[in-house]
């Protein structure tokens, strides 16, 4: 079982590299049981969206 620290690393890397099946399963297992990381996951998606809209918003 991976911990939150490791899980956030994987969630973040999923935006930068292809994630292996094993990693994906580990993340899903963790996310099912961890509300903090579920919030973090949504917020990461928001960060990407916001950063990519920034050039139009400045």
């Amino acid at each position: 079982m991976i911990d939150c620290k490791h899980n956030t690393e994987l969630l973040s890397q999923s935006y930068d590299r292809p994630i292996t099946l094993r990693e994906r399963i580990a993340m899903r297992m963790h996310l099912m049981m961890c509300r903090g990381c579920r919030n973090f996951e949504k917020q990461l998606a928001f960060l990407r969206k916001a950063a990519r809209e920034l050039p139009r918003k400045l």
């Binding site: 973040s12 919030n39 973090f40 400045l58």
Partner: protein, 187 residues
């Protein structure tokens, strides 16, 4: 061929400067790349006139100028990434020794609406500026200039693993800053 209205171009200038500052954080360098961008725009004035969104087009030119500049600078020692920037402090503060959140992230209220709020973008900009220079730079290259991780590693002369670590820290830092200063989860 029609000339570009210098005033129209000047109107975009402050926007371009803000954009360049986010990436470079150096007023002189920002001034330089924006100047080069405007010159390039004037040189291809026919294209400029044909743009439905001149600003997007200008930002596109500016991106290339910034990448060129960073590429040149990456070979100079002072811009090596993450040297002397102790970003582990942040990670240590966010997680307990057992690897669990010290303070688990709370839900953000209506984040999509924030994107339409001018004040949100000021906070976002300030949060970027609060990150260590090279962390912010890698993050901006990735998210803002939409460069691939491989390109960023190459440009900055760092390993892929180091690149992932830096990008992850950037996201943690930005999330934390927005959480405290915008979404109102100050602790």
């Amino acid at each position: 061929m029609s000339d570009i209205d210098p005033e129209a171009l000047q109107g975009h200038r402050s926007h371009l400067i803000r954009y360049a500052m986010l990436q470079l954080r150096d007023p002189n360098l920002a001034e330089d790349v924006v100047q080069e961008t405007l010159v390039a725009a004037i040189e291809s004035r026919a294209k400029f006139a044909a743009q439905s969104s001149p600003r997007t087009w200008l930002v596109g030119i500016l991106k290339h100028k910034i990448v060129d500049l960073l590429r040149k600078r990456a070979r100079e020692p002072q811009l090596n990434v993450a040297e002397g920037e102790d970003e582990n402090e942040l990670v240590d503060a966010l997680f307990k020794e057992n690897g669990h959140w010290a303070d688990p992230p709370q839900t953000w209220n209506a984040p999509e609406q924030s994107l339409e709020n001018a004040h949100f973008w000021n906070v976002f900009e300030q949060c970027n500026q609060r990150m260590p220079l090279n962390t912010a730079r890698a993050f901006m290259m990735r998210e803002f200039m939409e460069m691939s991780t491989e390109e960023i590693c190459q440009e900055l002369g760092i390993s892929t693993t180091n690149c992932w670590v830096i990008l992850h820290r950037a996201r943690l830092a930005l999330r934390e800053c927005l959480d405290m200063n915008w979404f109102g989860n100050a602790r």
